[in-house]
């Protein structure tokens, strides 16, 4: 016998408008940054940030930064998201499935977006823009926040997740700069793209599972 799904909180009209604005803003920022990256407009600023990041490198930070950076990969995010969805499935199977689909879509979108801008990373390897690590962690944290909100988790949990998630996003973004793997523009592009993707994901999930 299938366990009945717990009721999900629905977005208000104002919240939907705000998410739509966030989507449009994120998409606009993503493409604007892509254009600036392609036209090399940000080269000087990016180089300054990169120099600063490289000047901070020490032996002690090397391993922790690699570990933090790996948190943004599919190898870590995939299993963690799957485990989280198993927990969510107990409360709402449809939401768990939708979150898994959004996560898979995010991974595909982050990698597909890389064909927009053909530029080299600081270590000369191609596919710099956007940072898929940043994109992935932003989508993961955003969807986690939405799930907690939709399932009406205690506000203290949501606040803790918000703070922890923001710190995680910052840490992963910083680690990509530290490891000489991305320019600041790539990290910002990943942030903007990830936010836009997550906002679209939340709007679609709300429309399909709650409103519709």
């Amino acid at each position: 016998m299938t366990r009945p799904s717990a009721p999900l909180r629905s977005l208000t009209a104002a919240q939907r408008r705000r998410l739509l604005a966030l989507t449009l803003g994120g998409v606009a920022a993503f493409f604007a940054l892509a254009l600036l990256a392609q036209l090399r407009v940000l080269v000087d600023a990016e180089w300054e940030v990169q120099s600063l990041a490289q000047a901070l490198r020490t032996r002690a930070l090397e391993l922790p930064m690699r570990a933090v950076s790996s948190l943004g990969t599919g190898w870590v995010l995939g299993p963690v998201a799957a485990a989280a969805c198993l927990v969510v499935r107990v409360r709402h199977a449809g939401l768990a499935l939708a979150v898994i689909a959004a996560g898979a879509g995010a991974m595909a979108a982050a990698n597909l977006a890389k064909v927009l801008v053909i530029r080299q990373r600081p270590n000369t390897v191609l596919w710099a823009y956007p940072s898929a690590h940043t994109f992935g962690i932003v989508v993961f944290v955003s969807l986690l926040l939405y799930v907690l909100w939709a399932l009406d988790a205690p506000p203290r949990w949501r606040r803790l997740t918000l703070l922890g998630g923001a710190a995680l996003v910052l840490a992963v973004g910083a680690s990509r700069l530290y490891l000489n793997a991305h320019w600041i523009g790539d990290v910002l592009g990943g942030l903007a793209g990830g936010l836009a993707f997550a906002a679209v994901g939340v709007l679609l999930i709300d429309r399909r599972l709650v409103t519709g």
Binding site: Q54, A55, E62, I118, W127
Partner: protein
């Protein structure tokens, strides 16, 4: 303050040289800085906190570090058909949306991808050209080429000029073409090399178009007079000109091949052309490629090619079949495998001494590239 190696990420390099990969940190950083500059972009002195010692603004650009002990170096290609297919899909979409204007940016994106996926000694090559340069070059090329050709072909028809005048104008047109093709070839090479770099050091081409026009015109006439038998000498002269005027930073490439060395393989190819249904051409083509590569030097480094005729024949025939059968959809696959094929069979023998190589800025416009595109005299992939 000890800093990490910018190339292999070895933390806390004790001195100037990385104990893991041997790169000179400050110089490597300066090279990376240049790598990111667009054509003619300024090269700033790096911040003292990162680069030690700080470069003096008046000092000449620093040399690139010596790249390890003498050995056989291989070029490698990391590109994939899927990656290029994605780029082409975006290119096709944007070219359609912009009624063809994006074509020049699309070309630049493909070149950037192909060079960015090519690697020597752990570092990728870089392409710095822009779509705008190609567009401007194309417009200038049209003005230089299209207007005279239009005048020489349309006006006599409009005014119904006598047959003698038309014949004379046709000859004049042929002469114009004979002059423009070599100019376009030199311009294209000058532009392309000036937009390529490795470890932040630009390539360049410093041959004079006038000299190449001479080689081209004389060679074309002698080709006609000898019914094509002059081809090996002609093509070797062209290669010698193109290679021996090419530079990496301040150091030039050298070519010591002689056309007569290819004469015998060429005659054998002609004799076997019909019995082998034309396949002997691929054998000769591979022989020519090996000969040209083997006679190219860069300082003490000699290039070596081991491309076999059979593999070249299979590559080129299967590429044509794949493109035709797939109606062009497999074009990215053919490009990627062609570049990978070319690099697979090329090696560099001897020490790659780069210590005295430094940046030597050369100006180049894209007009020759635009002309070459118009005349289909463009060479190379992408």
């Amino acid at each position: 303050m000890a800093e990490p190696c910018p190339r292999c990420s070895f933390p806390d390099v004790p001195g100037d040289k990385c104990p893991q990969c041997g790169v000179l940190v400050a110089l490597y950083r300066a090279s990376l800085d240049k790598l990111r500059r667009g054509p003619g972009g300024p090269v700033h002195a790096p911040p003292a906190a990162v680069f030690q010692p700080p470069a003096s603004p008046s000092a000449p650009p620093p040399p690139v570090p010596v790249a390890g002990p003498p050995s056989t170096l291989r070029l490698s290609f990391h590109g994939s058909a899927l990656g290029l297919f994605g780029i082409q899909a975006v290119n096709a979409l944007l070219t359609l949306l912009t009624a063809g204007v994006f074509y020049f940016w699309a070309k630049t994106r493909v070149r950037r991808y192909l060079l960015g996926e090519s690697e020597l000694e752990g570092d990728r090559f870089a392409y710095h050209g822009s779509g705008r340069e190609l567009l401007v070059g194309f417009v200038k090329g049209m003005a230089v080429f299209f207007i005279p050709v239009a005048l020489l072909t349309i006006l006599p028809e409009l005014y119904q000029a006598p047959a003698e005048i038309r014949a004379a104008l046709r000859s004049l047109l042929w002469l114009v073409g004979l002059l423009i093709v070599p100019i376009a070839m030199v311009g294209a090479r000058r532009y392309r090399l000036s937009r390529m770099s490795w470890r932040g050091i630009r390539f360049s081409f410093r041959g004079s178009a006038r000299q190449f026009v001479g080689i081209f015109v004389v060679g074309t006439i002698l080709m006609s007079l000898t019914l094509g038998l002059y081809y090996p000498i002609f093509v070797t002269q062209r290669q010698a000109f193109m290679v021996s005027h090419a530079y990496f930073g301040s150091r030039k490439f050298d070519f010591d091949g002689r056309g007569r060395d290819l004469m015998r393989p060429f005659l054998v190819m002609i004799l076997l052309f019909l019995p082998t249904l034309g396949l002997s051409w691929f054998w000769f083509s591979a022989r020519r490629q090996r000969y040209f590569t083997d006679h190219t030097r860069f300082g003490a480094t000699r290039f070596r090619s081991s491309v076999p005729g059979r593999a070249l024949a299979w590559l080129q025939i299967s590429n044509v079949v794949a493109v035709v059968v797939s109606l062009g959809l497999l074009w990215p696959w053919t490009v990627v495998r062609s570049v990978a094929f070319t690099l697979r069979y090329v090696s560099l023998l001897g020490p790659l001494e780069l210590a005295d190589v430094h940046q030597d800025a050369q100006a180049a416009s894209a007009t020759g590239q635009g002309l070459a595109g118009l005349l289909d005299a463009d060479f190379g992939v992408g």
